[in-house]
């Protein structure tokens, strides 16, 4: 059961808007900009949406100045070559292959001391507990830690396949928060976050500058659609205890819902895997693993009395 729900994946305000022609690095222009009031940004309606719908969108949570500072920090990390290519270790049949995503570069701040030293605003956000404390009041129960990853998508179709964040059998992640840092983003650039609040229909969310998207980590299927342009974002994950700190409380209904979502979206899932990685043996292995997992999930759901035929392909 654990292996199935995990699939085959062993993964492992100040208005300082800068005119296009008159900009100076904010790292020098606003070195002491006050940290944004993130607790105030998540209001009661946002909390209600997060609880009711499983996701919520907050525009303007950080303010332009801080978004530019965070963006500048990510650029510094790229400049110093402190971002690594996103890759997944795919373990199948006792062999491991490395599945690299095309055009996606990132780093996890908590595990990367040099990155924290080079990116002081990101480090400040990583260490700040205001948003976590606010979300704790939102979702109930403890939220004792967070992790932060920054991501640079080079464009050229860079994207992520469908997935859930974390795994209830292995971690107690509760909420995912993604902040988009793309001041010149246009609709034609793509790169939307697609949330699938199964069984509801998918929702595409534009990666607009200073847009914060919150969603339930374990229960929200999601992906990043292909981006034709450079795209920057950062992600915070909030945990009951700590990253990798242990399984979430058992919730059989939630497990079944994850399996049903994965089965219903099996075709889109396969296409998204193919879109996100360069062709080659590792991709072939990933697609084969997905197909095998889909069959196992079908049997599991049928054994639980779920009408798998009714789930169809890519429901609803």
């Amino acid at each position: 059961m654990r292996a199935l729900s995990r699939g085959a994946w062993q993964r492992s305000h100040h208005s300082a808007r800068r005119s296009p022609n008159l900009r100076v690095p904010l790292s020098t222009a606003a070195p002491h900009a006050p940290f944004p009031d993130l607790a105030a940004a998540v209001d009661a309606r946002t909390c209600e949406r997060l609880r009711r719908d499983g996701y919520a969108v907050v525009d303007g949570a950080f303010g332009e100045t801080w978004c530019h500072l965070l963006r500048d920090d990510i650029i510094t990390l790229a400049e110093r070559r402190l971002l690594g290519r996103n890759a997944t270790h795919l373990v199948r049949g006792g062999t491991t292959s490395l599945l690299e995503k095309a055009n996606i570069f990132e780093t996890e701040l908590g595990a990367h001391e040099a990155a924290r030293a080079a990116a002081p605003r990101l480090d400040e956000l990583y260490r700040d507990a205001a948003l976590r404390d606010r979300l704790r009041a939102c979702v109930g129960g403890p939220l004792r830690s967070q992790s932060l990853k920054v991501q640079l998508n080079h464009g050229g179709g860079g994207c992520f396949p469908l997935h859930f964040d974390g795994d209830p059998a292995l971690d107690d992640m509760v909420v995912t928060a993604v902040l988009y840092l793309n001041p010149e983003w246009r609709e034609s650039d793509g790169g939307h976050l697609q949330l699938v609040p199964f069984p509801e229909a998918p929702v595409d969310i534009a990666p607009k500058f200073d847009r914060l998207v919150l969603f339930s980590s374990h229960s929200t299927l999601h992906r990043t659609l292909p981006s034709s342009q450079v795209r920057l974002c950062l992600t915070l994950w909030f945990y009951r205890t700590r990253p990798g700190g242990g399984a979430a409380p058992a919730d059989d209904a939630a497990v079944e819902k994850r399996l049903a979502a994965r089965y219903a979206y099996r075709d889109t899932w396969a296409r998204s895997i193919a879109e996100s990685h360069a062709p080659g043996p590792a991709l072939d292995a990933a697609l084969a693993a997905h197909a095998a997992d889909t069959l196992k999930i079908e049997k599991l759901l049928a054994a639980r009395g779920v009408d798998v035929a009714a789930l169809g392909a890519d429901a609803p």
């Binding site: 402190l82 996890e108 040099a114 990853k149 974390g166 450079v230």
Partner: protein, 73 residues
């Protein structure tokens, strides 16, 4: 998505020596340099139009090269 190995190991991609690189590696290296130049210009508020066009051209060359290599497999 905390599925990346970046969670497990600090990510770092130091610039490699070009000597001995394959065509694809050299092109990827050029793309990295262009990307960094583009991002720096963007951060400094400079006009990024020219760099953006170069990036798109380099990306297209990389796609063509990958297609060519795939055809040989």
């Amino acid at each position: 998505m905390p599925s990346s190995d970046a969670l497990l190991e600090p990510a770092s991609e130091p610039k490699k020596a070009r000597k001995g690189m394959t065509r694809a590696e050299k092109l990827a290296d050029d793309l990295d340099d262009l990307m960094i130049a583009y991002l720096k210009a963007s951060r400094e508020g400079k006009n990024t139009g020219g760099l953006k066009r170069k990036l798109e051209a380099a990306t297209a060359r990389m796609t063509a090269l990958q297609d060519e290599l795939r055809g040989k497999e």
